[in-house]
Structure formats: structure tokens, C-alpha cells
Amino acid sequence: MNARKITYREAAREAMRDALRRDGRVFLMGEDVGRYGGCFAVSRGLLEEFGPERVRDTPLSESAFVGIGIGAALGGMRPIVEVMTCNFSLLAADQIMNTAATFLHMSGGQFNVPIVIRMSTGGGKQLAAQHSHSLEGWYAHIPGITVLVPATLEDARGMLWTALENPDPVLIFENQTLYNMEGTLPENAGAVEIQHARIMRHGRDLTILTYGASLWKSLTAAETLAKENIEAEVIDLRVLRPLDDETIMDSVSRTHRVLIVDEGWRSGGISAEISSRIMEQRFYELERPVARLCTAEVPIPYAKHLEQAALPQVETITTAARELVHCHD
């Protein structure tokens, strides 16, 4: 199969174009998704192809347009709602939590909400403390929703369609620093499954569990570690809710050492959840306590050196992994 060059942004756009072509019930709605082409230019060109009914610019009303997406989903449509950043999604947190995630159970199984909400996440672009946080772990706390964190081109292209086929709410978090990432995809790239974590690199000495932009930093760290004869197994979690315990635990059973790299905060975050699960299920197979490398517990600062110091980096990942393997009691 022929492969072509493509960016993460283009892959995400192609996913939306494909969905809009395949299913007349699908429409895109959000701030500046139409004429502007999307805050991160993901939806550029879609308005021209599909028109203003199906590529809908909204006012700055996160709560209402997420709620309207929920209502439209209840009414038989398949909305893709774009929220510019996950920081802004807090203005719609009521609708996501109290309506989308709740309706099916609260109605005794009568009203499912097939909505897909896309939002950008993560730091690294000097956008400071109200545009740069990683809240996917928060949303993964909520029963009733699926939380996807596409890190690869394949997932940026393939997760959306599968999410749209899901009868219940799906949140997709796209890391801001990945939009320009370039690579190749097969001509016929399409839908992918959204249930499993994926082993991106096999290794015998430790398991690095990560997702999003930290995946690529972890893979780079693994290259360095390999030169020191440390073989890291790197796993892309892909789905933060529900977590794929099986893939995680199988890897832990092989390597006996775990480093979790998470761009969210450490306290009460998804890394804490994963660590607990490993403790509950594989405690006696661990050589060392589970290690975590997370974002510093600060609002993300503007100054480049401070922002970079706050986030997990290749060097800090490498150091943490090295310590985990070399430290002998």
C-alpha cells in the first residue's frame, strides 16, 4: 500500500472530512471552526466543502454549544463538538459531567448521548496558565464517558470514526504540540479500535506507560537508554477511560519496573490511578516501587525555561528510568 506524508493536523482533518462524507448525521460545531478554519487550523477547508449547516461557527458559549451538541445527539444527530482548549472546557464541565455522562444511567437506560467532543490539551507552546493544562486525567474520573488521547498519526486519523460509532459520549484530547508532527500514513488509513493500549517499543528492563506528547519524548529517551543497555518497553495508553489493564499488567509482569510519564499533575491524577491498579494487581511482581514523572504542580508559566522545566522532558524521563533500573537496595 502506498504511503503519503501527512501531519497530525491533516490526519485529524481527514478524519472529520471522512466522517462528514460518510454520515449525513455528522456535523462539526465550535468556536471558529468554519470561516477561521479552527483555532489550530484543523478544520480548514471543511466549511467550503460541507457548508455552514454542517460546519457551524458558534459564539463563545461553551456550555450552550456543548449542551446543544448533547441535545442534537439525543435528537438523532452525530455531532463533533470542538472546544478550543481543555481549559475552556471547564465552562462546559456541567454539560459534560451532569448531562452527557449522566443521562443514560439517570434515565434508567433510555437516553444515550452519542456525542464526540474534541479539545486541545497540553503545554509547550508558551500559552501560559489558561491554555496549557492537561485535564484528560480529570475527565477520566467520570463514569459514562470514554477518554481518548491520540498520540500517533494513525490514531489522529482513525479514532474519530470509531468514537462516532460509539453510542455514548467520547472525549478526544489532542496535544497542541503534536499538530505539526509529520509522518507517513497508508493511503487507505481509516478507523482504528479504541479499547487497547499499544506497545510502541518492546523492552525487558522497564515499562514506560505514557500517552500524548510524552509518548514521543519517552521513545526518544528509550533510544538513549538503549545505548546504555537499558531496554525500555514504551506503551502508548491511547485510552485513559476505560484503562486497558491487561496490556499494562502483562508488561509489568515482563519488566517488573514501571515509570509512568504523565503531562497532568501528580496529585490525584491518572498516574496515581494507574499506579494503584499496578499495586493492586501486580504488587508482588514489582522489583521497585512504581515511579511517576508528571508535570510540576504549578499553573503552567509563560517563560519558556520555566514552562519547559514544568513539563516531563526527554532528559528527566531518561534519568528517572535510569534510576529505576540501576537503583539496587
Partner: protein, 328 residues
């Protein structure tokens, strides 16, 4: 007595039947709450029946309603069986939400009743979305959201009004203005007390109706819905009403004078309609006692149905968090 013209006999009897049914149903809820069979929060609509019945009977059977936590009357008016509503409040699986929702969260797919929403203002965007779905799929239907004047201070009210008008979605915004957001008087919640005027900011037409006069509500709702159905976009209808009982069963009512409640009770919509029908010779004493008797039986049947209901197995606790494939 209100001054709208009397209805026909048959129509008047139906309005009266529904209003008395809701009143007796709510009174029965008080009994069952005192007997500790209904628990949680219980919000009664006693005093507000004219709004419920006058407005919601004007919608077609397949038109959606998104309601609030004070919604027993709305649910019954829209055709959910009183037994299923009562069973819900008793936490039984025969309830209209299998006992998962309780008093504040009545749901019914058959009658397109989308809750029972207890986040004030949260239901408004849902109704706009339902209407948008109809519009995009070429169906000509109205979606109605019901809310109190308290919701009009929420951002979601303003966002939903703006978007509904901007996109010309067929939504009836139905405000039950009962003058109190829980215990806060309207004078302490709104800078503009003439609530219907808020619609002008969104280029949306609006009207105000006497919410203690079922025929006035009916007429105002009919003309609002006609406007929406004719493709002219959404409409805000404010109905001025009053709840005779506390906000919920926990309310000591420290925030209002008893004399104020007594004044409003003089405008009780049920005796008002009875008096007008009697004056127009549309109702005799025999009709009235027959009606009361039928309703008493209906409410008792609802209680019996609920009491005979069963509890869902605890093993099913986590069902419906996510959709499941249809069971054979």
C-alpha cells in the same frame, strides 16, 4: 375570578381533570414523604398547575419537553402514567427511570420527556439541541424547555437564548416565574423584574401570561407555539405563578410572610376554573364529585402500582453507565 372567556364543557373538564389530578398526586406525595416512602428532595408544584396544564397540553404528542426538578406535573401532563411516576419516587424498577432518577429526574423516551434536570438552567441548551436536530433533519416540531425565573440568572439561559435565536431553532422557552429561587426573592435575583423583556436582547419575541389562569396560559402558549411552528424561530413565554408550598419538603419558609401565601391562594387556579365553569353552566355538582372520585381512584391506583413494584437487583447497579447491546 379570571376574565378569559369560559371553555367548552369538554375542554374545561379535561383541564380541570389534569389540574386536580396533579394537585391530588402532589398531596399524596406529601403523605408518602411523611411516611418515609419517598426520600431525597421532593419539590411540589401545588399552585403552579395552571402553567403546567395550560402550556404543555398545547404541544403535539411527539414534541419534546426538557424540564426541571419540579416536574411531576409536567410528566403527568405529557402522558407519563402516574403509576410510573409514583413508582419512580418509591425507587422501584417499574418507575419511569427504573428508580435511578427519583423525584427530580423523571424520564420517558415514549413521550420524549428528557428529564427532570436538577442543574438550574442545564436543560435549556438540551432543548435547543433537540430543536436543532429536528431542523437539520427536516422535521417540523417544537422543543420546549421549562424553567423557573431562577434559571434566568444563569449563564446557560443567556447562551441558550442567544443561540436559539441566532440559529432560529424551534424552541419554546417556558418560564414558570414563581417569584422565588428557592428562598431568594426575585427582587434579590433580577435587575430587570419584567422578565419577558430579556428576550429583546436576543431579538426574540416574548409574552407574559397570568400563570394562575389556565385559559390565559393556554391562549398565550398556543400563540407562542403557532409563532414557532410557522418557522419564525424561538419564543419566550413567562407565566407569573406562585408555589403554595415550600421549595422542597425541607423548607421552613423563613423568607416569606404567611399572609403573602394566603393572598396568592385566593387566586388558586383550580377553584377559579371551577367557578367560571359553574357560572357558565358548564359544570354541575354531580360532574365535580364524579371527577374528584375518578381522580382519587387514579391516584390510589398509582400508589398501589408503585407499592406493588419491585426493587432492581443490586447486581444491576452498574448497568446503563455505558450503553449495552440490546438484550434478547
Amino acid at each position: 375570578m379570571s376574565d378569559t372567556p369560559p371553555p367548552t364543557r369538554e375542554h374545561g373538564l379535561e383541564l380541570l381533570r389534569l389540574m386536580i389530578l396533579i394537585r391530588r398526586f402532589e398531596e399524596k406525595c406529601v403523605e408518602l414523604y411523611s411516611a418515609e416512602k419517598i426520600r431525597g428532595f421532593l419539590h411540589l408544584c401545588i399552585g403552579e398547575e395552571a402553567v403546567t396544564v395550560g402550556a404543555l397540553t398545547q404541544l403535539a404528542p411527539d414534541e419534546a419537553v426538557v424540564s426541571t426538578y419540579r416536574e411531576h406535573g409536567h410528566a403527568i401532563t405529557r402522558g407519563i402514567a402516574p403509576g410510573a411516576v409514583m413508582a419512580e419516587m418509591l425507587g422501584k424498577q417499574e418507575g419511569c427511570a427504573r428508580g435511578r432518577g427519583g423525584s427530580m429526574h423523571l424520564f420517558d423516551a415514549k413521550t420524549r420527556f428528557y428529564g427532570g434536570n436538577a442543574i438550574v438552567g442545564g436543560g435549556l441548551p438540551i432543548a435547543v439541541g433537540l430543536a436543532l436536530a429536528d431542523k437539520m433533519q427536516g422535521r417540523s416540531r417544537v422543543a420546549c424547555c421549562v424553567f423557573g425565573e431562577g434559571a434566568m440568572a444563569e449563564g446557560e439561559f443567556h447562551e441558550a437564548m442567544n443561540l436559539a435565536s441566532l440559529w432560529q431553532t424551534p424552541v419554546l422557552f417556558l418560564c414558570e416565574n414563581n417569584l422565588y429561587a428557592m428562598g431568594t426573592t426575585i427582587r434579590a435575583e433580577h435587575s430587570m423584574l419584567d422578565l419577558a423583556k430579556k428576550a429583546a436582547a436576543y431579538n426574540m419575541p416574548a409574552a407574559t401570561a397570568d400563570g394562575m389562569d389556565v385559559l390565559a396560559v393556554e391562549e398565550a402558549a398556543r400563540s407562542a407555539i403557532d409563532h414557532i411552528r410557522s418557522g419564525k424561530g424561538p419564543f419566550l413565554l413567562e407565566c407569573r405563578t406562585y408555589r403554595f408550598r415550600g421549595h422542597s419538603m425541607f423548607d421552613a419558609e423563613l423568607y416569606r410572610e404567611k399572609s403573602e401565601v394566603e393572598e396568592w391562594k385566593k387566586r388558586d387556579p383550580i377553584p377559579d376554573l371551577i367557578a367560571r365553569m359553574k357560572e357558565a353552566s358548564l359544570l354541575n355538582n354531580g360532574d365535580f364529585s364524579r371527577l374528584e372520585q375518578e381522580i382519587e381512584h387514579e391516584v390510589q391506583a398509582a400508589v398501589d402500582f408503585a407499592e406493588a413494584g419491585t426493587l432492581e437487583s443490586v447486581e444491576d447497579l452498574t448497568r446503563f453507565v455505558c450503553s449495552e447491546p440490546a438484550r434478547l
